[in-house]
């Protein structure tokens, strides 16, 4: 390696435009969110006074915040779990030989490509309590005896959202799983069969080692996305009924933009950011451990 200044400086010069843009649109807003979180600034008008930890103390004692925290966690854990299980099962299915396999694999891209907002609207129409397809289908097949309000009942609105979210996102997990399974060398698979390994043993000892890494990455990405969820909930329920689907992102939106309380909205946003960061760090540690265990 030559070490003249130009060679050492060059990569940084090439990075410069990206770093400048990132500092402007991410770095500065992030720092300003931290500053705002210690003020009582309004969205428009006053720049606000420094109020110390007052916003955070009020949030810690607010049932709305804790409720939103629980709702967000429930949504993230359940929808990601459903997506992972369905995704792996479909990936295993696509490893079998059957007519139309390539077609089925092509279909998986469809829900992923569908815009999130269109997906939300589509499912809202399907769940419509009066004229929705779900009620009609379940009624005509005799599964339910009267029309149900799927999004209007606090006890099941979140579950209805999970179904809509999982339908859109399990194909991505399936595609990642499928790519991982294709990485299992054919002779290892054949050898396992020759050695008389059963279906479960083959899954556990032949495929799992290849699946684990990619699935972990998918798990991390999906959990973080689910924890930040806003679009699908905003379009389908706006956080209702009775705040039963109000996640943290929805709460931040209401606080900062509907009620224009920029200061306390920023402190709430900061807490969400910290939660996501902790989650990501935990996962990173888990991935490193899983990778170490396989070596």
């Amino acid at each position: 390696m030559t070490s003249d200044p130009w060679t050492r400086l060059r990569p940084w010069l090439l990075m410069l435009p990206l770093l400048a843009v990132m500092l402007t649109v991410i770095g500065w807003p992030m720092i300003d969110t931290v500053r705002l979180s210690f003020t009582d600034a309004r969205l428009v008008g006053t720049r606000g006074e420094f109020v110390g930890f007052a916003n955070f103390i009020r949030l810690a004692g607010s049932p709305a915040f804790w409720r939103a925290f629980v709702v967000t966690t429930e949504f993230a854990v359940i929808s990601v779990a459903v997506e992972m299980v369905l995704g792996v099962l479909v990936a295993l299915l696509l490893m079998q030989e059957f007519r139309g396999r390539n077609l089925l694999r092509a279909l998986l891209i469809l829900p992923w490509a569908l815009p999130t907002v269109v997906n939300a609207i589509l499912w809202r129409l399907i769940y419509n309590p009066e004229y929705g397809a779900l009620n009609a289908l379940l009624m005509q097949t005799g599964i339910i005896e009267s029309y149900q309000s799927w999004l209007g009942e606090p006890s099941r609105a979140l579950a209805a959202l999970v179904v809509a979210d999982a339908w859109k996102n399990f194909p991505l997990v399936a595609l990642i799983g499928l790519a991982a399974l294709h990485a299992v060398p054919r002779d290892i698979r054949a050898a396992a069969v020759v050695d008389g390994a059963g279906a479960f043993a083959r899954f556990r000892f032949v495929m799992m080692p290849y699946l684990m890494g990619p699935l972990m990455v998918a798990l991390v990405l999906r959990t973080i996305e689910a924890f930040k969820v806003f679009d699908i909930i905003w379009v389908m329920t706006r956080g209702g009924p009775a705040n039963s689907t109000r996640t943290l992102s929805i709460l931040v939106y209401q606080e900062a933009f509907s009620f224009q309380r920029a200061g306390s909205g920023a402190s709430l946003a900061l807490i969400v950011t910290l939660a996501v960061t902790v989650l990501a760090a935990l996962y990173a540690a888990m991935i490193r451990r899983a990778a170490g265990a396989q070596m």
Binding site: V25, L110, V252
Partner: protein, 281 residues
């Protein structure tokens, strides 16, 4: 494969059929709703196929008379195309050099981790200052402002995709070019960019789809036809007092058409892009 058991073969086919139906049924239903009359959509028991197909919603939504629903949706579609294209071009402009620099110089790798780390940040963490900043610059409700904000999402993502796209291009080619006296810009233009064209195309496609799909910032930072994107426009339509479900469905079909067609046509590139990150870890 290993199984020659006919029962197992039937089981596999049944499962495949179920998965196909689960994926397709909502799409098909969205389309059927869009061509059914309101009467057919609001009878009980529900009619699964309209008595007479009714294409009037598509006509209504593509008609451009002033202040009509059609004009609103069409201008939103156009805004989406412009914002997504602008944001994609800007993201590529900053991430092609950065992605190449990181790919060839592990010493700047930590800055890539930092950039990718920002991908985790929830948009709500940046929304309030971005709103105030855009307001101060008079860029609320402008396409340029929205495209700028979209860089927060697109640039980290394309940098990461491009870095993995540059990685497999052999360095020897670059060394040979350097020996032949190529300047940096010549090397990038004549040698690297053509070789990396597929990777750049994939990155552009992903960036465009991400921008097309975006809703949160568009909801916050746009307020009328001058900048409103299609995701906000159809959410408005569905959230308003419109009782014509067929019209909402038709708007959904129109908004979904570009990304779904892209998705089907560019399948191979998309799937490899979606899975490289996961598989390579």
């Amino acid at each position: 494969m290993e199984h020659r058991n006919p029962v197992f073969a039937i089981f596999v086919h049944v499962c495949a059929l179920v998965v196909a139906v689960v994926i397709l049924a909502p799409f098909v239903w969205l389309f059927i709703m869009s061509i059914s009359s309101t009467a057919d959509l609001t009878t009980k028991p529900l009619r699964w196929w309209p008595a007479e197909t009714d294409w009037s919603r598509y006509r209504q939504l593509t008609e451009l008379t002033q202040n009509s629903r059609g004009a609103a949706l069409m201008s939103a579609l156009l805004n989406s195309v412009q914002v997504a294209a602008l944001a994609t071009l800007a993201a590529l402009a900053v991430s092609v050099p950065a992605g190449w620099a990181v790919s060839r110089n592990p010493s700047v790798g930590w800055s890539l981790s930092l950039v990718i780390g920002t991908y985790m940040l929830p948009p709500v963490a940046l929304a309030v200052p971005l709103y105030m900043g855009l307001a101060a610059l008079g860029m609320l409700n402008t396409k340029l402002g929205l495209a700028l904000v979209y860089l927060t999402i697109l640039a980290p993502f394309t940098t990461w995709l491009l870095k993995s796209g540059f990685d497999p291009i052999p360095r020897d080619i670059e060394k040979a070019a350097a020996i032949d006296g190529a300047r940096l810009d010549q090397m990038l233009r004549i040698i690297i960019l053509p070789l990396a064209a597929p990777a750049i195309g994939t990155a552009a496609l992903f960036a465009f789809l991400l921008a097309w799909d975006e809703f949160f910032y568009a909801l916050l930072f746009t307020s009328d036809q001058r900048a409103k994107t299609v995701t906000v426009a159809i959410a408005d339509l569905a959230g308003g007092r419109v009782a014509d479900y067929g019209l909402i469905a038709a708007a959904g079909v129109l908004a979904a058409l570009p990304p779904v067609l892209f998705g089907l046509l560019m399948q191979r590139a998309l799937i490899s892009g979606l899975t490289t990150g996961g598989v390579k870890g």
